[in-house]
Subunit: 336 residues, 2 copies
């Protein structure tokens, strides 16, 4: 029997698209799959709970079956696709096409996802971490359309960031760049899960912030009332309570905006982007609670020449972001 | 009379080189001119005091005459050149090919240097600011050869920085990126000449540091002895006195290294470069006074994955750097 050779994107087709793209966004809780045409228009999409069994081989099989189902239901076949794109949480080894060890995917350790999936699907597979994938999606189809230089920051469990520089995804040496979640925003500050002190993630990341909230949220605050109990408080309750004018929640949002502005100022001096897109909690908090105060703070910390044409925006794709994230990885993620 | 049309780099030749390159590095004190062959080998070079009269038109004429002299003495003519490159202090308007208002070039305000020089020389001209030019030079011919991602920091009057990302010069929106001299390294810290507080330049820039030294250097320190008087102390005296073990000078170098490491740590998380090249004072201070302590500090502030393959190096081109800076702008600076 011949050794397995994963399907390759024909050299002549690299760089422009003629067929369909399959996009897969695998998160710790949801699996989103979409099919897009050559222009990026979504022609089919589905979301279901992530099939995470603890056994990555079984998980890959389940995901491939889901994808194959969606392809069949769309009256398409593997040969109609240029590429499949996989957006995964956590770091990716681009050379090996492997997912390293995302804390959100139990049992996944060095999974050679690119080859396994392309073998199952019969379609060439590209991989990116989810923040890079979302940066591509917001740049091509969302808030950052038309920009040459864009930074995307998303505050979920941690803080994920992606950079589009000079009109392409920037990955840095061995794909390790764009860890703005670990920009120091307070010298000798809070201890971060990464081991360093004062990282942006130690203030804005959902895990760190939830831990803090569960320690200090006043039992009488609207934050605790919305959560049901202090042990269940999370950033989304802060956003909701701040929207109702709760004093504690408003102070917490101020702290959030304060540290976020420090990171954006550093970004502006370093990279002079035209657009900074802020996802998740920032997008949920909206203009009054987050974007206006953040822009005002950035304004005091950055030169006019750097801030006057800098747009700080919420995501533009809303609930569609995971679909476009996967599709954008198929379109221009790393082929390895 | 036909309007002047500056010579253009023939489209067919853009991206590869067949002829000679003229490199011009104009600083506040020195003018360096070099001629390089297609491989970047220097075949002629000269340095003289910058001909700065206060009248940019006269200055441009003097520089062009110098360049024409060197070309003639090398038995070459304008037609033998692919391009001329101009490295200038301060910001450049790439669209207009203009030098904005460098504090080191008296009288220069919005000078359309690209068109003026190409008109005089009969050679297409490219422009970059000096930190970008030096970053290109150290990347192509100096300490950073072979790297895909490199940051260059030079501590002169201010702090200039240049970025090579994904194998090309990164300029950001309107060429405004790479202002790492204004990375905040101390919240609410020293006032910088730029108006912000706590900028790297407010600690490491020669102007700011000299001002501090002239206020606080103990009259009994070796720093003052070397300078002749406290009013004349500058960073180079700190480097020299620290080399002799002077306590005050060693403390000042520690402070320098402390803030430099903070900026490099931020750079590493953001961009994951393979090489950080530190020019001027850092290169002069050398391994024991600067590079070893900076590396040790960066090590405590950055993840192993980001620092293990990060090389923090002095410049590799020494006194030749200005020649290569100009030549590299000719080779791959902005054609506008």
């Amino acid at each position: 029997m011949l050794p397995f050779r994963p399907p390759q994107i024909p050299a002549a087709f690299q760089g422009f698209l003629i067929g369909f793209q399959l996009g897969i966004d695998l998160g710790g809780s949801k699996l989103a799959i979409a099919i897009a045409d050559a222009e990026g228009g979504l022609i089919a999409q589905q979301t279901r709970p992530s099939p995470l069994s603890g056994d990555p081989e079984a998980d890959v099989l389940a995901i491939a079956e889901d994808a194959a189902d969606l392809i069949a239901r769309s009256d398409l076949a593997a040969r109609d696709f240029d590429a499949a794109g996989f957006s995964v949480p956590g770091p990716v080894d681009h050379e090996r096409g492997a997912v390293l060890a995302p804390p959100n995917l139990p049992g996944w350790q060095n999974v050679p996802l690119r080859d396994r999936m392309s073998e199952r699907l019969g379609i060439p597979v590209r991989l990116e971490n989810d923040a890079n994938a979302a940066a591509l999606a917001e740049w091509r189809f969302g808030a950052g359309r038309g920009a040459q230089n864009l930074a995307y920051l998303t505050m979920s469990t941690g803080v994920g960031t992606g950079l589009i520089l000079d009109g392409r995804l920037y990955r840095g040496h061995r794909g390790r760049a764009s860890e703005f979640g670990h920009t120091c925003v307070e010298w000798e500050g809070e201890r971060c899960a990464c081991g360093q002190r004062g990282c942006l993630e130690a203030y804005l990341g959902g895990a760190a912030w939830s831990r803090r909230l569960r320690e200090i949220a006043p039992a009488t605050s609207q934050v605790c009332a919305l959560a049901g109990s202090r042990e269940l408080v999370s950033p989304k309750h802060v956003v909701a309570a701040a929207g109702e004018g709760d004093a504690f929640a408003c102070e917490e949002m101020e702290r959030f905006n304060h540290y976020l502005a420090r990171a954006i100022a550093a970004l502006a001096f370093a990279l002079a982007p035209e657009v900074v897109v802020l996802g998740t909690i920032a997008t949920a908090a909206g203009e009054a609670l987050c974007f206006e105060p953040v822009r005002a703070r950035v304004e005091t910390q950055v030169w006019p020449a750097l801030r006057d044409e800098l747009r700080i925006l919420p995501i533009g794709l809303g609930e569609q972001l995971p679909y476009y994230a996967g599709v954008c990885v198929a379109r221009e993620g790393s082929p390895g």
